[in-house]
Structures are given as structure tokens and as C-alpha cells.
Symmetry: C2
Subunit: 699 residues, 2 copies
Amino acid sequence: MNNLSALFQPKAIAVVGASGDPSRIGGRPIAYCQRFGFQGTIYPVNPTRDTVQGLPAYPDIDSLPGQADLFVLAIPAAQVPAALERAAAKGARVAVVFSSGFGEVGEAGRQLQAEIDRVVEKTGVRVLGPNTLGIFSNASGIAPTFTTFLEEVKPAQGNLAIVSQSGAYGAHIAMLACKRGIGLNHFVATGNESDISVADCIRHFAGDPTVGVIACYSEGIKDGRAFLEALLAARAAGKPVVLIKVGRSAVGQQAAQSHTASVAGDDVVFDAAIRFAGAERVHTTQAFIDLLYTLSRRPPLGGRRLGVLTMSGGAGVLMADAASDHGLELTPLPEDARAWLDERIPFGSAVNPVDTTAQAVNDMNLVRDALRVMLERGGHDAVVSFFMNWPDNPSIGPALKQAIAEGITGFDDRTVAIAINAGDAVKRDFDKAGMLVFEDPSFAVDALAASARIGERLREPAPQLQALQPAGDDASLAGLDEAETAERMRRAGIPMSALEVAGDADAAAAAADRLGYPVALKILSPDVLHKSDVGGIALNLQDAEAVRQAARRVLDTVARDCPDADLRGLLVAPMAADGTDLILGGRIDPVFGPVVVCGLGGVFVELFNDVAIEIAPVSEDRALAMLRRLKAWPILDGARGRTRADVQAAAAAIAAFSRFIAGHADRLSQAEINPLRVLPEGRGVVGLDGLILAGDGTA
Amino acid sequence: MNNLSALFQPKAIAVVGASGDPSRIGGRPIAYCQRFGFQGTIYPVNPTRDTVQGLPAYPDIDSLPGQADLFVLAIPAAQVPAALERAAAKGARVAVVFSSGFGEVGEAGRQLQAEIDRVVEKTGVRVLGPNTLGIFSNASGIAPTFTTFLEEVKPAQGNLAIVSQSGAYGAHIAMLACKRGIGLNHFVATGNESDISVADCIRHFAGDPTVGVIACYSEGIKDGRAFLEALLAARAAGKPVVLIKVGRSAVGQQAAQSHTASVAGDDVVFDAAIRFAGAERVHTTQAFIDLLYTLSRRPPLGGRRLGVLTMSGGAGVLMADAASDHGLELTPLPEDARAWLDERIPFGSAVNPVDTTAQAVNDMNLVRDALRVMLERGGHDAVVSFFMNWPDNPSIGPALKQAIAEGITGFDDRTVAIAINAGDAVKRDFDKAGMLVFEDPSFAVDALAASARIGERLREPAPQLQALQPAGDDASLAGLDEAETAERMRRAGIPMSALEVAGDADAAAAAADRLGYPVALKILSPDVLHKSDVGGIALNLQDAEAVRQAARRVLDTVARDCPDADLRGLLVAPMAADGTDLILGGRIDPVFGPVVVCGLGGVFVELFNDVAIEIAPVSEDRALAMLRRLKAWPILDGARGRTRADVQAAAAAIAAFSRFIAGHADRLSQAEINPLRVLPEGRGVVGLDGLILAGDGTA
């Protein structure tokens, strides 16, 4: 039994602050529950009335004649904590708190919200909100919500579940979905998320057999790992999750923070997390609705083969362009099928796009036959077509509908979408005849492409979200110098350059003798950051005498120019062989925890932002996939006569580094290996320099 | 008087192949011309009827009782050339040829179309089509077209002119525009463009004072220079041109070619050409209509400062993200204005986005006042707002409309857009109250951003499309070797490395003595392409003896390994100083003519496709702008402690190279300088190697 069952299937609902006016905030939940057929008991609580909307009312919570497992609180914020306690005593398992004036309005509100947290902890009552628009669950008519969208539309039953942090935007989406003819199952607005989060709801939907598609609107995730676990649960259940997360831009993030108490987080990390968990992100309302519609009607596409059927060459090319943008394949029809079509449409085209030209107006069988040939012989996973405003035309619309319906009969495993400009009733008619209906041909292709991506992801083996087990040692990572850092990295399994610390010139020469020539020298000091700028580095020293001279010069120069620096001696390291330099970075994202980033050193990261980012830890396979995602991958891969780098060793190092980050998530804020030199294939990698910033942000 | 005046303002229209049935191809032009109030004479030509749709009909062209300046030909393709000749004798200045079966259907059709060309040349009659849907000109009711969209909608008068190569898609756009409430001025489908092209129509619109906004749909431009000249004419007239050109992708280009006789051309060059001419390209029907609507209602935005007003924080962030994607600035309100608003909306936000929260439902003055403050104090060029489905709600819709109308009063120089979900009548109501109305908040921002871009471009000084004057010399560019190529480039004003050709080792040493050491040697042979692979290169030779030895080695090695190669001796060149390498490329695009491309050498071009492309020739200023557009620009610019390269000299070399390309457009297909070494600032550039492929494609 899922812990949110009282929210989605309460036996009795008490409405505290109940109103006799069904258009008031305290009145709507009662009106809606009655209208949508809620079968349980409803207890209005109102100190001044005997009945509310035809139901017996009670002056306060304590006076309720029976238990209620769901309480609606539509009362001033200050009264909420006490009411929650009284509700707990009357059987409450969950409370839907409409009241605003909490975390979203400054310090006093935050303190009041903390009071709610204390009651939750003490009583075990779960809280939706505060500052929530509430919840609507269609099958059982549970509607403790004051949204107005339920006045505008009567949602059909269906498989779509919506969870939204924003009540207003979530309700807007729900209304658009209903108007589009998508059957709505659940709608939940999570508001301030003092307890029940978007992740909790997604996890519930994953386990609810009546849910087929999950829509999520988020402004900011607080617990990224819980969010990912919820997405993975949906993925394991084979349910597509489509989400819109605002706050992509810096301005948007600021706005998101002024709007709720959420942290918008780093959007790049969010994208990496979403990709990891297999969810699909959209950026506009239109794309959101188009994709939800597609997934609510048809399973995700089985592949990327798209057929395009058009009556206007122009629109055909338009759809072909859109398909190409998304990497869909316009697989051509086989020769004989093409020849057959060519004979039917001498002025058209039988390749793909198949163009019947306006000739189809006079002979709708063309549409039927073209569709059938494409589905039968073209092996297209989906066919998209553009019929302009024909469906609205009373003399050709019905014939067109019949032609399409006949053409697609027997191909239930495929998806056929049409783009038309027509009235709502006509669109619904065509939809009912078994095809997906869109307005804009490009958007139809967008939605099919998203469906294909989702299908691919759901067919892939799901990744594991590894638990964050602290590494065996619990030593602090604060204040490590280069030598100590390298030692930590080495123990974590990352091949680091050999390195010795020498106190003076003679010790440096002795170290160089042990390490082998040529060597490099570097001043060892936590206070000298840009070592080459102050003459703190000497490279390519060929013998002991050269090391001695360079060591004296480096020590003298730095001592003279940085009189206040804490000089701890010299680092001596063998010069590394030539190779390709990677940068590895790791950090603890405030939302999603440890992440690992890699890219080619130098301008590739700096100017082209050519990096791959993943939730840490990653396996060697995923690390290799990161490298392959880089645009600069051919440089590693030995393209165009280059030497192939030891990418397998690089992947192993990235994986080890990512485990180090994840294993020390409690103790570090950032770590870096820069550069990790990747030698030619078979010769491994070597980290030349490392940096660890401890959890409190100091080196 | 523009040469298309007979097309847009005929005095008399003859319809050859006239039908008494107003729904037939030969019937519609007559019915439409009557319905839309054409004041001139209409002459139906029909061999079997005395009257057609109430008008006296004539058996053939010769029998017409008077002259007609516009002829419609709705007759079989084979009869068209002869009919054109007869029409010319009866005063035809332009013919609208509906007939299909020409260039779009293979060789026989192409020959028939060539017959039309001959008649055009002989008689001077201009031809629209063949295979055209025709033309509609709203103000004077000229409607020689068989489009069906005029049955669906009655276009309002307005400032939008549409020209489309595809009749079907063009009519679809026209219909959507009319449904959106955009006033339609002209609609022209150019069909096969045997004579009158999209460019001709744009040029006409540029000079037509009743046209304010030009919409263009293209599948492929045949004469790129004429197209650019037309766009520049529109730009000079201050008229925005919005265009959709399909065939972006390889598959799309194939489809475009199977659809019409057009060449889709290189899409990257097309984008460069569009940018040059200041037009705005869109990629979806939705974006097309949204932008046409915006520009038909309001002048292009005066700047990029956007105010966002929202009732739902979520939608506010969504719009802020979209604005950020486009580089719009969400400038904050000044402190005092913010304080004033903060007091009014304690739970909302007064920054930007301004979020009134749903509180506005109870107090619509909030919307009015917020709008006014934003326009008055925020200095926003545009304000965009999201009101969900409120306008549809009879209890708040009218109040909302009034509040907005009052809020924007007095700010006619600014643009206010709202996104709403509402019925068409309600949307029209709000539109009439002075604001732009959209469905999707993201799309509203997209359209405003496009308007801002267009505004910026129209305020910039227009570039000159330079005439392609052949260079003074008329020598062939075929078969040039490196030394000859370098000499040509040098004469064109590009600093090329000094270079001597030596026949043997002693001559090479003598040349090196003259050039100064160190030098490089390179085998000179048109047959050896990858010179370093066959030992054909020796670098960094310090004295005469080293040159002699290397020369013998190179000559012997290449002679041994490439026995069939035509060995013409050795190139001797001084080693170039260190610098940053550019690649310059030029080619003659089949559509737009000479173009020039530049990028940083090596992986930047190869992996990141980091190139800038322009119509040639370019000025030094435009060349510098090309360099600045490169992502790798900071490498040239001396960022992060790098040495700044001599970018001014590089720009001068690019400009000179582009003049060379343009000046030899009649004789070359491609040219390249790779690398052009850019030395540190003040020290100039030097081209180390050049290549010219002559016009027939041979080196």
C-alpha cells in the first residue's frame, strides 16, 4: 500500500473552512466532489452554519461525528498548524493545505511552514501544500481543489496524470489537455512542497495501474536523488514521463526563486539527470500538450522510420526538414511499391515524402492506398500527413476521414498522425477514427520524434542510481596540497603522475634520480595559485645538475616575489609523454548530488563548452559514452590519421574519479584532474595535476 | 510604373477555358473577381457557351470584342504557347497560366515550358506560372485564381502580401492569416516560375505603398542575386520580409527537387544571404503566422527590453526562459516603481517578471496599474503577459480586457502582447482593444524577439550588393601550380609567403640564400596531393647545405615512390613565424554566386564547424565581423593571456580574397588559402598555401 493512498483514495474528506458558496475556495472542493461522484463521506467544518451545500456541517474539527482520512484546510495560515494537530486526532492521514502565506512570503512564513513540518513529523500526517491548488482524481471523483479549470471542462477518463509545482500553470495544462481530448486521470498541484513533492507523486503514479503517461511541471527540485528515483520507478513501469522545468536561463532562475521557495539549480545538471533517468523534457506549452496527446493515444514509437504523406509538396518538404532535425529516417518505399504508386500519381512523388498532389481531392482512394502501401511496404513506424483545411470542407472531409480510416486499418502497431486546420468538432471526429490530429505539420513531427526518443530510452536497460556510500576512509579532504591530492586520487584508482616533495635543491635532484629524467619542478605552496606567473615552474630538466640549478632559481624567485607565501618545498615529477589532455571535474550539485564532467583540455572546454556531464558515479561504459558524446571525440578516436588515444584507460579513470566524487560527497565540494593526459592506445593515462576543494569550500 | 502592374492592376481580364461552374478551375476566377468587386471588364472565353456566369462569353481569343491586359489560361498544357501568342495580339501584358504538365513532369513538360519562354521573349507578355494557383489582390478585387481558401474566408483588407512558390502551402498560410485576423493585401503563387519569380513579386511589394509586411514561401531560388536585390529593395522601403524556405535538410532538399523544378541550393549559403539582406527566416507554420500577425499589427520593436507580466509565476519563468533564449533583456523596474508595486502585490513579485498572482482576479486594477508602471517606468519596448483562460470567463474577461486597454493607453509606441486560451471571438475582441493576442506564451515571446531582430536590422545601414565585375585580367585560372596560385593571390592584394621555384638542389640552395633562412622545401607537382605522405616536404632548413641535402632527398624519394608524377621541381619558402592559422575558402554558389568562408584552421573547422560565411565580396568591416562571429574568436582576440593576433590584417586579407573570388566568378569554382597565418598584432598575415579550382572544376 503506497503511502499516498489516502491522498488519491480517501474514504472521508473533511473540509475545514467550508463555504456554502460553491465558487469560493472553501466551497469548490465540496461542489466538485459531489459533481464528480465522490462516494465517500464529506464533512464540512464551518463554525457558523448547520449545513453547507446540502451537507450537515460541524463547528470545528473536534465535533466531527466520524473519522476523515483526508482533511482540506482552507483557513488562514496562522491557524494551520493547530488545525493539523486536531485533524490528526480525527483520523487524518493526509491534509491538503490551500492556505498561502508560508515559505513563499518571507521569513515569518518560513517559520510558520516549519511548524507544519514539526506537526508532520510528530503526527505522521502527510501534507500536500501549503499554498496548493489541491488535487483532482477523476476515476473516483476526488476533488479537494479550488481550481477553476474544472468549471470550464469536464475531463474525460483517461491515463494521463499531471503533477505540477505551479497550481496555475498546472491547471492551465490540465485544461488544455482536456480541451485536446486527452483523458485526465490525476491532477496534483504540490505548492510549497513542505512534505509531498513532485517526486512522491511521480512515484505514486509509477505504481498506479490506471496511469499510463505522467506529466510534470517543475520550477525547482529540492531532493534530486528522490526525483531521479521516482523517474526511474516510472521508467521501470514503462511509463513515459514528460516534463517541463522552467528556470533554464539565469533570469528565469531568478524569477523561479522569487516565485516559490524552490531552488532552480543548475540547468545543465538537470538535463543530465533527466537523460540519465529517461524522461523527456519539453520547453513550450504547445510541445507539452502535443506530446502528452501523442503518448496518451499511442505507445511510444517502435523506431525512427517515418513516412511522410502530403497533398502539398511544400508541406512535405517542411515535414521532411523537421524529421531530419530530429534524426528521424525518411526510409524510401521499395521499388515495386514506388512503381505502383507512380502509376497512380503521375504528377506527384512516390519516394518519401509521398506526394499525391491535389489529385487526391478527386480520388480519395489515393489517400487510402498510399497510406496502406506506406504502412505495409515502407515499414514506417509512423506516418505523418498534411491535409490543410480539407477536413472542414463538407464535400471532401467525410470522404477523407473514411479513406484514412480504411488505409490504417490493420496497422494498430503503427502511429498515423495528420496535421489539419479544422474546427474542434471535426478534429475530434478524425481523432476518433484512429489517427492523431495536430494543427501544425512541424509540431506533429516534433511529437512523433519525441515519442521515438522515449521509445528508444524505454527499450534500453535502465541505469542504476547508485546509493551514495561514503568511501571507507573518513579522513578530511581539507587543505590538501598537490602531493596529498595526487595520493588521494591514486588510492581512488586514478593513475597519477609519480611525484615527490623535496625540501631543497639537493633533495630535488635526489628525487629526480629516483623518478628518472627528464623531470619538472614546481613550487609547493598553498598560497601560490598561478605558479608559472611567478617563476614557480621549471620543465624538461635533463639531469641532476639542471634540477639543482632550477630548484634554487625557483625557490629564490618565489621567495623573493611572494615573501608572505607558505613555501613547503618543491614538487618533482617526471615529464609526461605526449598525449591528448582531458579535464575531469566533479562537484556536488546542491540538488542532484555528485556529478562528473569531462572535456578536452584547453579551448575546447573554454570556448566551445564541449563537455559531457553525468550523475556520479558512472560505470566505465557510461564514461566511454561521455567521451563519445564530445564533439572533440574524433581527436581521441584517431580520426584523419591521428594517433588513437587510450580511450579505454581514460574511461576507467573517469569512472574511478566519479566513484571518488560520489564516495566523498559528504566531504568535498569540487575536485578536478587537469590535465588527465591520455597517451596513445595501450599506454594508459596519467593525471598530471589534481585539486580537491573540501565540503566547506576551502582548498 | 512597375512592370508587374498589369498583374496587380489589370483593366480587363480574359479567362480562357472559362467555366459556368463557379467551383471549377476555369470558373473560380470569374466568380471570385465578381465577388471581390473587380471593377474592370471580364471576358470569358468558351467555345460552347454564349454566357458564362452571367457574362457574355466568346468562342476564342481572337473573337474578343476588346483588349484585355491580363489573360488567365485554364486550358490543357499543349495549347498554352499558341494561346499566349493569340493573347499577345489582344493586348495581353501578363498571363496567369493555371495549366500544369510543364517543368514539373519531366522532359516533355520542360520542352513545353521552354516554348512559353520563347513566347515571353518574342511578345514581351509576362507569365505567372505555369502550374500556378494564381493571384488575389484584395483592394481591387483582382482574383484570377482557383484557390479554395477564398471560399473558406473573406479576407479583411490589410497590409500583408504573400508570395509563395507552392500554391497549396501558400493558400494554407493565407487562410491561416485570414483566420488570425490579419488583413490580406496580395496573394501570389508563382508556380513553376517560367517568368515571374518570387523575387519579382517581392520587388513589386517593396514599391507598393499599400504593402507593409511581406511573407514569402520558397522551395528553391534560381537567381540568388535577383532574390537578394528584391530583399534589399524591401529593406530599403522599411518593409519586413518573413520567409520560410524548406529543403533545409538533405532529405528535404531531395523532396523539394522532386516537387518542383527548383534547386534547393546550399542551406547555409541561403542563411548567409538572408542575413545579408536583413530578412527573417522562420521554420514552422506557427512561427510564420505568429510573426506575420505581429508585424501586420505593430512596427518592429524599437529594442530588446521586454517586460513580463504574469498571474502565474510558472508561466512568468517560462516566458523569461524563452526571452533569454532570444537575447531579450528582462530589464528590472526602478526601485521606487518596484516598491510601489510590492505594496500592491505582497505575495507576488515586482521585479521582472512582475507577478500579480491570482490576486488580480479580485482586483483587475492591478493588471492595469502593473502594465502602466512597466510601460512608464520600466521603459520596456514590449510587455508580454499570460492570462490563461481568464478572457473566456464571462465574470472576469470583460474586466480584464478593460484593465489592459486602460493600462496601455498612451503607449502607442510600445507593443503589448498577451497569451490566452480562449475562443476565436474573444481573442478578436482582445485584439481589437489594442493588444497582440497569442495562444502560447513561449510563442508570443518568440514573435516579439523576431520583431526586435527585424527592427535592429532595419535600423542598421543596408549593405550594398556589389555588382560582379570581372577582374581586369581575363587570364585563365586553370592548371595553376602553387607558385602561380600564390602569385595570383599576391596580385589580388593578399600577402602570400615569398616562394621560389627551383629545378634542382643547387637552385634550391640559391633560392634559400635569397629568401633567408630557415626555409621549407616542398615538391612541386600537380600530381602529388598529400605531399608530406610521400616525403615531399622538408621543414626548418637552416643553411644552404641542409637545403641541398634535403632537396636531393625529396626529389629522389618522390621520383622513386611516384614514378608517374609530373615533377616540376621544388618550392622554396621561408619558414613562417608563429601565429594563428585561418582557413579562407571561396566558392561560386550555383544560386547566390560568390561566397567567402573563414574559420580557424584544424579541428575548429573540422569538428566544430566553426566557420563564418558571407556573400562575396565583403568589406574589411564585414570581414572583421565574420571573424568576431567565430566561436574561436577569443583565440585571435588575445583572451586569457594569449597574444592578440593581427585581426585587422586578417580582415583585410579576407576582404581581398573575397574580391578575388567575386572578380573571378566567371572563371573559378573554388579557391582556398590554407593556412593564412595571422601573426601577432601589428605584424600582419601571410598566406602559406593557396589553391584555385577553375570554373570547369579542374585544378
